[in-house]
């Protein structure tokens, strides 16, 4: 090891969401961290403390640990690293397939720059077979499963449940520097063959999707038969076979693009290997169907019943605490509302980004609701929880509130004279 104390120096290549949050988390654990990205402009921004992504605690921890973090766009800095994580975000195409071009390019760039005794760890999610195909003589290469969650990236980086490590030989001990790094987190370390680790990540996501699909399917049934999913879900979570952290909140389909990407990967491999993955196709279809809940409900309750309605949309990002709008339910709805007037507000996403010919901007949530016939709360930002239903009713022209994520209190909305609609329960 080349660092001045006993701890190895950890490098991260690719300063997008995954790499940056992982690097800052590692620095918080006391390691000297090298943050490399070929983009000198980005590195310059990071050196001034300007974070390119929105994540709770990220700027604070980056600032707190700035003495342990070296930002660089010069490859020569990688010579210092005992372990180098390669961690660029892997973009997903519109067809739900990973575009691995940038990851491959970065690997080709950094591999010649690291020391012969250094450990290379790919942290970016890749399909089964990727890692083994990139091995080469003399390269000490591993694959580590990432479990980043947008909006909780730092929390996940600091408190991993376990480490899943794809290895060239699962029975061989991990290299000292890599093991020291992993053991700093005091969580189980699970070495396995490359392909198992690659499929393990996909398996985790399939389990999450299964839970989400159960919630979405059964919550729609609740809407039809007078049950309330919010009464049922807590009972399920107390069942040890299901678990308190299971994804049982109904949503507008499967959020984000990574889960869908993994489902598509499974169907692709199933086609190649001749295994039955029809349940996966059903999950994908159910997600697409439930994603349109707001659009269908909006048409049924509002758009088909009045002339020239004004639709207010609160929240444009695909989930709270992120600026990402990829697979945003709000965008999916708005792009199909071109004949109607649409007003929008989001704490971080600009209204002008909304896919509508003339979206009307608003200064705050109540300004957005002013004069609206219907308010659709499409992202569960904390900012919206403090909206007073009585004030909402006062400023609105109509009475409809579509609140799929139950941001507002249903009873308070009803008391204020609003007609409140949400997932998983028939009309309040």
């Amino acid at each position: 090891m080349t660092s001045t104390d006993t701890l190895p120096v950890i490098g991260f290549a690719g300063m997008t969401h995954l790499g940056l949050n992982s690097a800052v988390g590692m620095a918080e654990k006391g390691f000297d961290v090298v943050c490399f990205d070929p983009d000198a402009t980005l590195i310059g921004q990071l050196e001034t403390g300007e974070m390119p992504v929105l994540e709770p605690d990220l700027p604070e921890l980056a600032s707190k640990n700035k003495d342990r973090i070296t930002y660089a766009s010069d490859l020569s800095v990688l010579e210092r690293c005992d372990v180098l994580y390669v961690a660029p975000d892997v973009p997903v195409t519109d067809d739900g397939v990973s575009d691995l071009t940038d990851l491959d390019a970065l690997l080709e760039k950094v591999i010649p720059a690291i020391r012969k005794d250094a450990v290379l760890v790919n942290l970016s999610q890749v399909p089964p077979g990727f890692t083994r195909a990139r091995t080469r003589p003399g390269l000490n290469m591993f694959y580590q499963v990432e479990t980043l969650i947008f909006g909780r990236a730092i929390e996940r980086a600091l408190h991993p449940e376990r480490y899943i490590i794809g290895c060239p030989d699962p029975d061989a001990p991990l290299p000292d520097a890599f093991r020291t790094c992993l053991e700093a987190y005091d969580c189980p370390i699970l070495p396995m063959r490359y392909e198992s680790a690659e499929l393990c990540k996909i398996s985790i996501n399939c389990c999450l999707v299964a839970s989400i699909s159960v919630a979405n399917t059964l919550s729609e049934l609740c809407e039809g038969i007078g049950a309330d999913w919010s009464e049922i879900a807590p009972a399920l979570k107390l069942d040890r076979r299901i678990g308190q952290y299971s994804y049982l909140s109904p949503g507008l389909g499967i959020g984000g693009s990574n889960l869908i990407r993994d489902l598509i990967t499974v169907t692709r491999f199933a086609e190649e290997t001749g295994s039955d993955a029809s349940v996966i196709a059903a999950w994908i279809r159910n997600s697409a169907y439930r994603k349109e809940w707001a659009l269908r409900t909006l048409h049924e309750r509002v758009l088909s019943t009045m002339d020239d309605p004004l639709v207010a949309v609160l929240g444009l990002s695909y989930k709270e605490n992120t600026h990402s709008t990829k697979n945003s339910p709000a965008f999916a709805m708005i792009e199909n509302l071109h004949p109607y007037r649409v007003k929008a507000f989001d704490p971080v996403v600009k209204t002008s980004a909304a896919p509508h010919p003339v979206p009307i901007d608003a200064a705050d949530p109540l300004d957005c609701a002013k004069g609206a016939d219907v308010v659709c709360i499409m992202t569960p930002w904390d900012d919206f929880k403090s909206i007073d239903p009585a004030k909402l009713a006062d400023v609105m022209a109509g009475k409809w509130v579509l609140d799929p994520y139950r941001v507002l209190d249903a009873k308070a909305c009803t008391k204020a004279g609003l007609s409140y609609l949400t997932l998983g329960v028939s009309d309040a």
Partner: protein, 292 residues
């Protein structure tokens, strides 16, 4: 599942409708007339699509700027003979358009292409017809898709659910028969207790949506359904209520209950400003027209 080649609705130079004598075609002609859209409705007398030279004859009548609406069919197509006739008709249309490509072809198919047991029907569902009628429509879709791909002609397949309307000549189990029975003061006899739910569409709405597809020069597949299904008993009881006479009676159930609902998201996306006539209102109107 529909793509609009015309973002803004633009009437074509001419709409040629095949199947003038039919219920849907005549309503479409009236809709286009009211909208001031130039159209030509052709019937069996001018173009018998079952003759050997029908394709050639039809080609001679077409212009390259035409939109062609194919709604001619022997329906319901219950046996091999009807199937053969319907296949002969689609072959004539395919030959004609391959010879003289038009600007746009709209094929009026049916939701019978879906499995009978399919309960939430959407355009992405794989067709699996359980009847000769459904198989006929699916075969016509496949044949037309292949021919139009070769001819480079944009094609839309529209799959209406169960239709109702005053001029419907069919008297199958459903709103039209119930209306006639109630107006005659007869007893409407239900299968079982009439529990099965179906999505009933007014023929005027079907015509209006076809007109939209024509003007947007849409391609792809679209189901034509309201998104709201109701039981046959509800329809029957409403018929008796509107007529002020007749009665409804159940029978011992012979077959399992099946329901059909539609996911209409694709239609909401394709035509976000389109609204269907409420069933109660549309059904009442169909009575008024008969009364008048």
């Amino acid at each position: 599942m529909l793509e609009h080649l015309n973002t803004d609705p633009t009437p074509p130079n001419r709409v040629v409708i095949l199947g003038r004598e039919g219920f849907v075609a005549s309503t479409l002609a009236a809709t286009l007339e009211a909208a001031g859209i130039n159209h030509l409705a052709l019937g069996h007398a001018e173009h018998d699509l079952t003759t050997a030279d029908a394709g050639e004859q039809l080609a001679a009548a077409l212009e390259e700027t035409d939109t062609l609406v194919f709604v001619s069919a022997i329906a319901p197509s219950r046996d091999a003979a009807a199937m053969a006739t319907n296949m002969r008709m689609v072959d004539s249309v395919a030959q004609a358009v391959s010879t003289r490509p038009v600007s746009h072809l709209v094929n009026i198919s049916s939701d019978a292409v879906y499995e009978d047991a399919a309960h939430l029907v959407h355009e992405g569902l794989a067709p699996a017809p359980g009847s000769p009628h459904g198989a006929m429509h699916l075969a016509r879709e496949i044949l037309l898709s292949g021919a139009m791909k070769g001819a480079g002609v944009p094609l839309a397949h529209l799959r209406p659910s169960l239709l109702y309307g005053t001029a419907d000549p069919h008297n199958g189990y459903g709103p039209n028969r119930f209306r006639r029975q109630a107006q005659a003061g007869e007893t409407i006899t239900l299968f079982g207790e009439g529990e099965e739910k179906r999505d009933h569409v007014a023929v005027e709405d079907v015509a209006a949506l076809i007109s939209q597809v024509i003007q947007h020069r849409s391609t792809g597949i679209l189901n034509i359904a309201t998104g709201t299904s109701r039981s046959f008993r509800e329809c029957a009881e409403l018929a008796v209520e509107i007529a002020g006479k007749g009665s409804v009676s159940g029978t011992p159930r012979q077959n399992p209950i099946t329901h059909r609902h539609f996911d209409v998201t694709a239609r909401l996306k394709a035509f976000p400003a389109f609204s269907f006539i409420d069933f109660d209102e549309g059904f009442r109107k169909s009575f008024n027209r008969v009364d008048s």
